[in-house]
Amino acid sequence: FAASIISFNGPAGEAYIGKFIKGIKNTAKLKGYDIKVYENQFNQAEQDQQVQQVLAAGQLPDVFIWWPSDAVAGLGSLRALHKTGVPVLKINQLPNEQDKQYIFGYAGPDDRLRARNAGYMMREAAAAKKAAGGEGFNVLALSYPHSYGGYSLSINAFKEAIAGSDLKIIGDVDEGFGQANGYKGAAKMISKLKDQGIHFVYGMDDAILTGGIKALEEAGYKMGTDVIAVGTVCNGDKQLIEEGKQFGTTLQSPLHEGQLAIKMVEEYLSTGKLANYINFTPNPSVTKETIATTALRGFDGKLYSIEELCSGAW
């Protein structure tokens, strides 16, 4: 093998990570790298143990790829990896100030970019609604748990993007990740905000939003006309966009992320450093109109359709 890589990441059981692993493994194979993937069950303590054990085995790779279960909580293990002298690439969770001394770069999505694009998308939709004489611009946000690092990045970027428009956030609920929690959170907020009127919904990711849309429909809202929903990540239900129930999403492909990680490793191994310290995956917007035609070129040079790029029920 040209080089060996060890990647620490979440469980393949999670749809997004499942695709990511596929991306990283296939690309590594293409490049002739030997890669080992250690999964943990969304559990920082478990991941810490894994790191220890892998280090204990004493078989050091040429590069570590590090996706901490929790951006902040993974710091201890990151230090341990760094101490071995093997370069570390951080992925998925944007590095903070403390991380920087231990990694040679970052590859992965940008929560802010993703949220900002969603904000812009909603802004356009609002403008169109206004032009058509529509009224009501109240936004309900279906959020990640507020304790989760991605929450503040996402909500702030989204707020920035809609600042100055007619849109106004009137509710923000953080029931939890996933469709079931999205449904529950939205259902409660509908009770609360029904009188004020809900006209737009922002889902911090599409899985949450998918649940939220079910709740809205059950409450009698007509999606797409009464309420306009915008999500991100494309890990929810694709059919909702095709049917026009969800206005759009900003695509974030796990497949891409995996490929990008390998690309950065390749760049580092050949040049000894990265041209850009931070490397983001693109976040194109997808709507009903563009969903059939959207495709992205992967880092292996192939063109991937949205079906292949996204996680969730796509």
Partner: protein
């Protein structure tokens, strides 16, 4: 010597089987993976043991007392959050003390309520499981908390005597203390008594409060210490973390051969059970096994243990019956001969 071993084996079949299982798991990985039987791996296993062992110990004690503490993961998370949050401002020893004290007190309070209300621990702790998560979220201000100074994590993961770290040495000490406590003190015997036969123990004058409070205090202490070790080792802590501890600890306790009926089992079993789980976990990590398969293997391990325990119970029963019948046969011969000799004609 041989006789003694045999007697011990028949007296503690569950423990013997646990040992056998541990050896099998270790042996399997030692043979299939060249790095498994090395000092560094042993160190890693001991590091895992430091946390899981504590939880396994706590749950073993609870199960001996005929109860189960579901709140153990939440309690550990709370301790982790507290210690990480306050180490920077108060220094590690103080923060550590506070965290462990709080966890122990939570255990004491739970034990008190369980004894006072005469309810099953599982009933109360299913509530405190959630309650303590809420408290931990509150303490952590719903964020992941983190140290700024990483000398403490470095210290507690330094190697001593090839295989140990300060953390695992501390845990081994805890094990020895608790083991001594359980088998040689009166209070330990009380715990066995309320687990073996609750009603009888109360009737013989044991005050339920003391053993209950002790058990849950130890459980709280172990959870707290476990949480502190995890928190300080990684330098960070999450209020919603450590949920896996409960399940892993329970599995470890059962694999260690503790009887769910209470009153039987011990610290040795807790050690063996935890080590078995650790061997499996570590071995699977070495073989780069996907996470979901770990659950499957643990499930299978448990099923094997259940099969064995059920089998040994059935065997025991049939053994008892055979013993009874052969006793009867002996007595019959004896009686018949006398009857023949001495029965007066009617």
């Amino acid at each position: 010597m041989f006789e003694k071993t045999k007697k011990w084996l028949t007296g503690n079949p569950d423990l013997a089987f646990a040992m056998l299982l541990a050896c099998c798991v270790y042996g399997y990985f030692a043979i299939t993976n060249e790095y498994f039987m090395t000092g560094r791996t042993t160190f890693a296993i001991m590091e895992r043991f430091a946390v899981l062992g504590l939880v396994g110990l706590a749950l073993t004690l609870c199960i001996i007392a005929g109860e189960i503490d579901l709140s153990i993961g939440s309690n550990a998370a709370l301790a982790a959050v507290i210690v990480v949050r306050f180490t920077d401002s108060l220094g590690a020893p103080t923060a550590l003390l506070i965290a462990v004290l709080i966890s122990t007190s939570i255990g004491i309070i739970q034990g008190y309520f369980i004894a006072y209300l005469r309810i099953r621990a599982i009933v109360l702790t299913v509530g405190t499981l959630m309650l303590l998560r809420g408290v931990a979220l509150f303490v952590a201000e719903e964020k992941t908390v983190m140290l700024t100074d990483f000398r403490i994590p470095d210290f507690i993961t330094t190697k001593y005597f090839y295989y140990f770290s300060p953390a695992s040495i501390l845990v081994i000490l805890v094990f020895m203390l608790v083991g001594f406590f359980m088998s040689y003190t009166r209070y330990g015997r009380e715990i066995y008594a309320i687990g073996g036969a609750r009603k009888e123990a109360l009737a013989s004058g044991i005050d339920l409060k003391r053993p209950m409070i002790i058990v849950f205090a130890i459980s709280g202490f172990c959870a707290g210490l476990g949480g502190v070790i995890i928190g300080l080792r990684s330098g960070t802590a999450q209020a919603l973390g450590l949920q896996y501890l409960l399940l892993a600890g329970t599995v470890a306790a059962f694999i260690g051969g503790v009887s769910i009926l209470g009153g039987r089992g011990g610290v040795i079993g807790a050690i063996i059970g935890t080590l078995t789980v650790n061997f499996l976990n570590t071995g699977l990590v070495f073989n780069v096994t996907p996470a979901f398969l770990v659950q499957l293997y643990l499930g299978i391990l448990l099923v094997i243990v259940i099969m064995f325990q059920t089998g040994s119970r059935i065997f025991d029963q049939s053994q008892k019956r055979r013993q009874l019948l052969s006793d009867v046969d002996l007595r019959r011969l004896d009686l018949l001969s006398r009857k023949h000799k001495y029965q007066k004609p009617p």
